[in-house]
Amino acid sequence: MKVVGLSGSNVGSKTRTAMDYTMKAAEEKYPDAEFTLIDLAEYDMQFSDGRDYRDYKGDTKYAAETIMKADAIIIGTPIFQASIPATLKNIFDLLPVDAFRDKVVSMFVTAGSPKHYLIAEQQLKPILGYMKATIVQTYVFIEEQDFYRKEIINDDVFFRIDSLVEDTFMLMETYTSIREAKEAQYDF
């Protein structure tokens, strides 16, 4: 199983801090899976111009192809101006419309204000659904006060991320076995 952690911001520390913990928790619990972290702050990404994702170059090509090869993607995103950051939207724009078919996608959100709680529900999930993702419905919402100097200080956040990782793997394993059973029924 290939799992990609996608840290969706090119600035700030909270999303990356939570992503580091998420990846660590996942690697400890599921040592057989193959993990890749894509932190968009570390890559030089082109804006989407509509071409096939394999026709980009450099970091853009690498990021797009790595995501396309994944079985599951855990997205971490901050909220900018009551929406997802442009850097994360650009990732979706780079990919084909059915990019997340047969992939499980889960997410956590870091935000400066509790008013942003429904943004993942109302703005991120519709994009993932349109792109055919199998979505882990429950996401983790982490506020400013849960961090102190690049560390998570609220134990509840650790527990909720642990659950998110478990739910991601549970859905991926379940969905994969259901899909394989279904595909085996076709006689071609």
Partner: protein, 352 residues
């Protein structure tokens, strides 16, 4: 229709097209050489002609897993190897070529073939050709429109005065040789949503519509939009031929056809499109209402006639060699087309 060498009274034309893909056989992992692949395309054209198939076409692509980058050269060999089958390109990527050179090439192939040659001009779904041939992807739309227009002009006039953005001006330029009968049928390759079909309609040129999968009725929208656009711009839609193109594979039973071709289609899509063909969609493809012509000869006849009733198109062109299908299986397909499918399609679509 006469201008485009199509006689609807004789029934719908049936053709074969290859993208010139060069993909390993997924069942064995082996890939034949480029030389063998090109040789087999030429052989396939000869067999198609013997079976009574109307058209054979070869496409241009500049990606990995293709072998007909110089598609006009392959078409030229096919022109020499055959006698009566029409020859065309599916498609020529006019955006990144010089229309003058394209016209010279295809007029020459037309002379070699004795007046059997056409051009289908498209603009590429993958864009490796832009870098390779030195063009800027930002000019994707503008390149296609300008060069397609120039190609049409070269077809209409022997002496051309022209200037544009992407090519040196032409001053009293004579573009030679001329095709055998004065001009070539030039089609516009169309895919995706109706917007592209509408542009073909406004231009008043024949439309070659790619239909990879999904309900036939959803492609009907593109066809209606094309005809409406043509009419609104002063063209008579009844004079403009429409061709559809898509996946094809036949065997004794629909189940056998699906079993034989699915691994090839899936792997071909994986390598060319970056993701495989979902089994669920492929299974739906057997339905008469789905545009994908994969099934028993009887099922395919039903599908083609259903599509013809819906679209009123003049030509269907089948892609059956995608994804490393072994040549023996292609021969078997041609045999079933020639003996079962073609006679039925002609019988039910001929007007006299």
């Amino acid at each position: 229709m006469e201008k485009y060498r199509i006689d609807p009274n004789k029934g719908m034309e049936f053709g074969l097209y290859t993208l010139g893909d060069h993909i390993p056989n997924p069942l064995t992992g082996d890939r034949i050489s480029s030389q063998q692949r090109i040789g087999e395309m030429i052989e396939l054209a000869k067999l198609a002609e013997e079976a009574g198939i109307d058209i054979f076409s070869v496409g241009e692509s500049h990606q990995e897993y293709f072998t007909t980058q110089a598609h006009s050269v392959v078409l030229s060999a096919i022109a020499q190897a055959t006698e009566k089958i029409k020859i065309t390109s599916s498609s020529t990527i006019i955006s990144t070529l010089d229309p003058v050179r394209v016209y010279e090439d295809f007029a020459t192939i037309d002379l070699i073939s004795g007046g059997r040659t056409e051009i289908i001009a498209g603009r590429a779904s993958r864009v490796g050709n832009f870098d390779l041939l030195g063009y800027n992807l930002r000019d994707y739309e503008a390149l296609y429109e300008e060069k397609f227009d120039l190609l049409l002009t070269l077809n209409e006039k022997e002496v051309v005065n022209w200037d544009g953005q992407f090519r040196a001006p032409l001053k009293n330029a004579r573009v030679l040789p001329r095709p055998l009968n004065g001009s070539l049928p030039i089609w516009r390759a169309v895919g995706g949503p109706p917007a592209s079909a509408i542009k073909a309609g406004y231009a008043g040129v024949p439309m070659f519509l790619a239909t990879l999968g999904g309900p036939a009725s959803s492609f009907k929208r593109s066809i209606d939009a094309y005809r409406q656009a043509a009419e609104s711009n002063g063209y008579d839609p009844s004079e403009l031929p429409i061709a559809t193109a898509g996946f094809f594979y036949t065997a004794e039973t629909t189940q056998q056809a699906q079993q034989e071709v699915y691994p090839h289609v899936n792997q071909g899509m994986q390598l060319i499109n970056g993701r495989g063909y979902p089994k669920q969609h492929f299974a739906q493809g057997a339905d008469t209402r789905d545009v994908m012509n994969i099934g028993s000869p009887q099922q395919i006849i039903e599908k083609i006639l259903y599509q013809h009733e819906l679209f009123g198109h003049q030509r269907y062109i089948a892609q059956m060699d995608f994804g490393g299908v072994p040549f023996d299986q292609l021969k078997k397909n041609i045999e079933l087309i020639g003996t079962e499918i073609l006679p039925a399609v002609k019988k039910y679509t001929a007007k006299d």
